[in-house]
Amino acid sequence: MSLFDKPFDRRTMLSGSATVLGAAAASSLPFGNAFAAGFPDGAISVTVPTRAGGGADRNLRAFTGVWKKYLDATFKPDFKPGASGRVGYEFYMGKKKRDGHNLLFGNMGPEFLNWIVKMPTFPLEDLTYFARVDTDPGAIFVRADSPFKTIDDVVAAGKKRTLNVSTSRLAHPASVGLLALGEHTGAKFNLIPLSGGKNTIAGVVTGEMDLGTLTSGSVAAKGKALRTLLVFNDENVAADRLNNAPTMNQHFGTSLPPLLSSRAFAIHTSVIKDHPDRFKILNDTLKKVFDDPEYKAAVIKAKGIWEYINYGDMNDTAKYLKGIKEVGLRFKPLLTGKPS
């Protein structure tokens, strides 16, 4: 438990927030913008800790395609996949200049669960998720012609034999949801990590796996080929796209926190302190994207779920990470393969 005593504790979070508020106040002064003259000076590099062509790539392109209108800069994605995002984060923290021209676009849930398994080499408070883009709940799905028509069918089968479940990786909110389902119902599941959403879906579609667990946005994007059976959220806000699947809490009367994947932009915390003017420009222009109809059109065209697009500031992301930390620690032995 001592693992998380230092990073992301209440004090760090508060001091971080205070810094940001201070920065915002400073930059609202009449001369504030003078410091930012010439920013951005060149392209904004966005480190993405997953592979090109994946879900993060798609989301990022849709977002920056509109953001560039307001920021007057081009965005260069820099894909650094590996070890469930660890490579990208370490690369960003270790190699990228701390001048506001370098951002990270990550999936907070699975990537933060990584740190529960093993801490990174940098102190967690050195990185700040400053803007959440979406909240995408995990879901359990089967292929369209599966004998499992409802989640009850799955649970009943899981009580008779161990069901193989494909997942993107063990340290993922959707995997945690599946484990929670097993714990609550007594059904036996065997999580098979297949490295990435595409492989997770392929495992189910090709019939090798009995079912899969993944972010519901990726499941919905596959259309009729898949059937969603359960969603790990308080409410299934995209019921029409997800076969009207019930939520875990509704169906089983549990009080599981929403198990969301949540994509967010992050930045070196020192940039917020040292270049508050630059940070303000980034933050202000970013927020405008959410109100732009062009962004909504881009999300819908890419088969995304608009209801999942959900801006959140630093306080929201910190609150989210706190929740992820709690569930992560609860299932830590299953995520690491070692007894606690």
Binding site: P193, S195, K198, A202, T206, G207, K224
Partner: protein, 510 residues
């Protein structure tokens, strides 16, 4: 024939062919670009399409498809050129090409080798594209039957090449192969992602990157060796290259045509492996090479510049190209990395995959394969005449060639991941390759281990974890068991044939 409520007739294909030919103005530049990026180590169709995503997003969906497919097919052919001429396989899919291609180039038969590679690629690509067009619904079924257990055996077909290579010097061959497998196992484990043998380098967490290993073991080590000679050519090679003529190109075409059965068979291996999600051109090339050698009457010639050893991987890796598109279009699952990027573009344009695609938008469903067929047809006529000129690279003085190869391959090592570390890694593999060559350890054996080892481990762990640790799962499927038998037969066959030949010879002399 009827597929998904679409009347599939010869007339429809003819119309589609003419329609696709109308896109020549996209196909030709895409083809040229594909050949260039294919030939540069580190670049591939996948990362080029990523770079050009804004362009493909802006195009009409059909134009975008034609562009990507033309680039994909031609990049595969482009990768064969440096693999043959200067021992630089730019992608893992071309890793088996230099085994016999480069010795041919050194022997002054570069033109023949290139012509053979072009014809084998085109014929393999065209044939498999036509088969894919006709048999798509059935071919897509392969993905439903080839699971982890079956894939383990497919991998072993490729890995058994190590044993074959080791035949001349068993102990050294096996040490090289097993060292390759150990190096290939560097990186985090597949389930819990604990780092293994990474020397603390973050850059190794995702495993050994293939391009630095490929170019290091093959090209960098070769560059350090060839500086002893004036050119890479052998003495006989120099004599042959002294009087270049078109004749050599025609000879290459003839050599390939004579082995038509080989082209068909190896490209079909590529097609089937290409259809399986998670398998790709590298596996297909090695499996085709292994199969080709097993059934050959002259297995001892493989690795010395044997035409069949070049035809096998080249027709197979082009078979993969059409294969990967089958599950993409029929079930919306990409069969490989390039198909995965194509998926992004097609999803961006709102294309609905699945059987309904062929009834709703046949110009896309069938059109993607037709674009490939047209590309291959246009490509063979444009590239074949160039083989004579490309081969001239082999006569360039090594004093100029070696530095260019080294800098070119280091640059190529950097490109896929943009880590400076990968350049150092390529040099490290270059030194390993140099020592291996100088002391008669086969670099190909090391490389097969590095490429196929992690894939095998991934499928193995998946199968075992699904079976809760029961090793019996390896023999639990009918298709898997049939493949096991085929594996044993093809591995034992060369020894058996050799034994029978010797016995026959003995009987004759008696």
């Amino acid at each position: 024939m009827e597929f998904c409520e679409v009347d599939v007739s010869i007339q429809m294909f003819a119309e589609l062919f003419v329609h696709t030919l109308g896109f020549w103005w996209i196909i030709l530049p895409a083809m040229l670009l594909g050949l260039i990026v294919g030939a540069i180590p580190g670049f591939s169709a996948a990362n080029t399409i990523i770079i050009l995503l804004p362009l493909t997003f802006a195009m009409e969906v059909e134009q975008g498809i034609v562009f990507m497919v033309a680039l994909y097919a031609s990049s595969r052919m482009g990768a064969g050129i440096p693999a043959i001429l200067v021992n630089i396989p730019g992608t893992a899919g071309a890793a088996a090409t230099p085994l016999d291609g480069y010795p041919m180039a050194r022997a002054g038969l570069g033109q023949q080798a290139l012509a053979m590679s072009f014809v084998a690629s085109t014929a393999g690509g065209l044939l498999t594209t036509i088969i894919a067009l006709i048999a798509m619904p059935w071919l897509a079924q392969v993905a439903f039957f080839m699971h982890s257990v079956e894939m383990i055996v497919v991998m072993l077909f490729g890995i058994s090449l190590i044993a074959t290579i080791a035949a001349k010097n068993t102990l050294k061959g096996l040490i090289a192969g097993l060292l390759g497998l150990m190096i290939g196992a560097v990186g985090t484990d597949f389930v819990y992602e604990t780092p293994r043998a990474t020397f603390g380098f973050l850059e190794l967490y995702d495993g050994i990157p293939l391009v630095p290993a490929l170019v290091g073991l093959f090209a960098v080590s070769e560059a350090f060796l060839v500086i002893e000679g004036e050119s890479i050519l052998t003495r006989r090679g120099k004599e042959l290259m002294a009087n270049p003529s078109w004749q050599a190109t025609f000879e290459g075409v003839r050599m390939c045509a004579k082995r038509w059965w080989h082209v068909i068979w190896c490209s079909l291996i590529g097609l089937v492996i290409g259809v399986i999600p998670g398998a790709g051109a590298s596996i297909a090339s090695f499996v085709a090479y292994q199969q080709s050698r097993s059934f050959s009457k002259t297995p001892e010639l493989y690795g010395t510049g044997h035409p069949e050893g070049l035809i096998a991987p080249e027709s197979a890796n082009n078979g993969v190209t059409s294969g990967t598109l089958v599950p993409l279009m029929v079930i919306g699952l990409p069969g490989g990395a390039t198909a995965a990027i194509m998926l992004v573009v097609l999803e961006f344009h709102g294309v609905n995959f699945g059987p309904q695609l062929f009834s709703e938008q046949p110009e896309i469903g069938f059109g993607i394969f037709m674009a490939m067929a047209v590309t291959y047809l246009l490509m063979i006529f444009t590239i074949l005449p160039l083989s004579r000129y490309m081969t001239k690279v082999t006569i360039v003085s090594t004093a100029f060639m070696a530095p260019v190869i080294i800098s070119f391959t280091l640059v190529g090592s950097f490109v896929p991941r943009e880590f400076g570390f990968d350049m150092g890694l390529a040099l490290g593999f270059g030194v390993l390759g140099y020592i291996a060559r100088r002391t008669n350890y086969h670099v190909a054996a090391i490389l097969i281990g590095i490429i196929l080892g992690p894939l095998l481990e991934g499928f193995f762990l998946r199968a075992i974890r699904m079976a809760n640790g029961d090793l019996g799962v390896l023999f639990s499927s009918n298709i898997g068991n049939a493949l096991w038998v085929a594996l044993v037969v093809t591995v034992a066959l060369p020894y058996l044939l050799d034994y029978l030949r010797k016995r026959r010879r003995q009987q004759k002399t008696m």
